[in-house]
């Protein structure tokens, strides 16, 4: 790394702004984080329930295909023909008996094995592949696969720790809380391109400090507030984190006098939007960030996977997959769909985030030599029983610095 890549001496209580815009840093992230020994989220099994069902997705910026074969196994392959590199799969979702690259019609089975090379033996004894060409050496590159309770993860690395070890004992119960083995039902997709560095999205969901201030909507309806019982929780490495809260009332008190955004008399014209039912044990909201590309959203009854797909240093795609459970009755499904209004590209709450992330990039991008201050709740990182902290972001960067060696 160049001389300009020196982390401020204060350590993780500062964030140097070059990490959000430098192409060298971005390239190193692709290599060490997205292609590193990590489990990246790729799909829900409910998206590809039948043999031949596939989903086209990305890890970092690299295109991959997740496909279920005829034996029911899940295979994940690079979306790049082994011949000349064509991204052969172009549909978000579909069903196929095999994959054929349109360019020279090289054909692969659902496990990624090369099963057909046109004119391999030449035409009229002319041309063709060399006699020692062995299709077994020219299949699609396969990724490591891990599944748990209907959720599929992948990695470009091999010999990784198990998914359970990867999550660790503090995050696994939060994962299993939503994914308890019940059959899932996909409710739909939302996709947005946010003109900001991907790490700003993680910072946002690891930052309970902003939630009580930026989100007037969230605050006014008591959905997530600094004066509510709450906590932040991390794994032993700091790479994963969770913001957890219980729903409180929405009165103005001495404790929340700093929340200028609190509109005391805010009433919905149609209360149906926010009629949550108690569904999960203990907590109302659990927002889990799993290194390196996933946010699991459980805000009351609205459940979604938010997958981060990087698109260069200054943009990322946020791909939302909303889901419920196969056993949900019609009323519960309707409730999930209504509460989905809070989130997504048009979300009552998340509009604020996508807009502010753009403002962040507009501020940090042109000032790579400056640094952000992150001292709310201290200068180190640890679990806390409150929201007035940036501890989870500091934890993220403690781990990030190790991986990136910066």
């Amino acid at each position: 790394m160049g001389a300009r890549h020196v982390w401020p001496k204060e350590g993780i209580s500062r964030i140097p702004y070059w990490i959000y815009s430098d192409p060298e840093i971005y390239a190193r992230e692709q290599e060490r984080i997205f292609c590193g020994p990590n489990w990246s989220y790729v799909a829900l099994e409910a998206e590809i329930p039948h043999a031949g069902d596939f989903k086209r997705t990305f890890i970092g910026e690299k295109p991959v295909v997740v496909v279920r074969d005829t034996e029911g196994s899940i295979n994940i392959v690079e979306n790049r023909c082994a011949h000349r590199g064509v991204q052969f799969c172009q549909k978000h979702l579909g069903n196929a008996a095999e994959f054929m690259c349109p360019y020279h019609q090289w054909t692969y089975d659902l496990k990624g094995n090369l099963i057909g090379v046109p004119f391999r033996r030449g035409v009229k004894k002319q041309g063709g592949m060399p006699a020692d060409f062995d299709p077994r050496n020219h299949g699609l590159r396969k990724l490591s696969v891990a599944r748990r309770h209907g959720v599929i993860f992948a990695s470009f690395a091999s010999n990784l720790q198990s998914l359970e070890e990867y999550f660790g004992p503090s995050m696994l119960p939060l994962f299993d809380r939503v994914f308890d083995g019940r059959q899932l039902r996909v409710l739909g997709y939302s996709r947005q391109l946010i003109p900001a560095n991907w790490k700003l999205m993680f910072e946002n969901i690891k930052d309970p400090y902003h939630a009580s201030l930026l989100h007037v909507f969230l605050v006014s309806f008591g959905l997530f507030r600094a004066d509510q019982p709450s906590k932040v929780q991390m794994d032993a490495t700091g790479r994963h984190g969770a913001l957890i809260s219980w729903r409180g009332d929405q009165r103005k008190t001495e404790d929340n006098a700093d929340m200028k955004s609190l509109i005391d008399d805010f009433k919905l014209q149609d209360a149906k939007l926010l009629e949550p039912v108690r569904e999960f044990a203990e907590y109302t909201v659990v927002m889990t960030t799993l290194w390196p590309n996933l946010i699991i959203q459980q805000q009351s009854n609205t459940l979604a996977m938010r997958q981060l797909v990087t698109r260069g240093p200054a943009a990322f795609e946020l791909a939302w997959t909303y889901f419920g459970y196969a056993e949900d009755d019609e009323e519960m499904t309707r409730r999930r769909l209504r509460q989905a209004n809070l989130m997504g590209p048009a979300g009552f709450v998340s509009i604020d985030d996508s807009e502010v992330m753009k403002f962040s990039q507009a501020g940090v991008g042109p000032y790579p030599g400056a640094a952000g201050v992150m001292e709310m709740g201290g200068r180190d990182w640890k679990d806390e029983q409150h929201m007035v902290t940036e501890s989870v972001i500091r934890a993220f960067y403690a781990y990030y610095r190790q991986v990136m060696e910066i």
Partner: protein
């Protein structure tokens, strides 16, 4: 003759002119950011949805924006005016290819293409969203109002945030 009967007996050309006026008034209301007037284009028990075309075509129920009554529309207006934080912008909506599918009992079905152009302060105008309106209208208080308005959009990858109605 009641207003409803008058609409039902309009010839197809006059009905089309009525609809062209209605859609022009609708887009003008939004383009000019008179959001408080927007709910008046709908009946009380209305449905307004903005749905990605991929969800619509796969039969997946998720909408990017869901309103199930005029109250929901008013709540969206409150959010635009009071709670949401967003950069200043202009939006301009074009409607074309209006197709009048006809009356089914006292519900008039209409389809049209739309394009919404967005202009942010430091950027060139861009196509923000395009798709098809699939609308159902009824006569209320002597004029046509939306019973249901579906905006099914092709622009699956939303450029950042969808704040104003389509």
């Amino acid at each position: 003759m009641t207003a409803a009967e008058r609409y039902l007996t309009l010839n197809s050309r006059d009905l089309r002119l009525e609809l062209e006026d209605l859609y022009a008034a609708y887009t003008a209301c939004l383009d000019e950011e008179r959001f408080e007037e927007w709910p008046a284009f709908f009946v009380e028990q209305c449905t307004y949805k903005i749905v990605p075309r991929e969800n619509f075509e796969r039969g997946l129920p998720l909408a990017t924006w869901l309103c199930e009554s005029k109250g929901y529309l008013l709540d969206r207006v409150t959010a635009i005016r009071k709670t949401a934080v967003y950069a200043p912008r202009y939006m301009r909506r074009m409607v074309s290819g209006l197709r009048v599918l006809g009356w089914r009992a006292d519900v008039l079905e209409v389809r049209a293409n739309y394009v919404a152009l967005e202009t942010l302060q430091d950027e060139f105008t861009r196509v923000f969203n395009t798709g098809q309106y699939r609308d159902k209208l009824v006569v209320e208080e002597g004029r046509l109002k939306f019973l249901e308005k579906l905006c099914i959009f092709d622009s699956l990858l939303v450029p950042n945030s969808l704040i104003y109605p389509l």
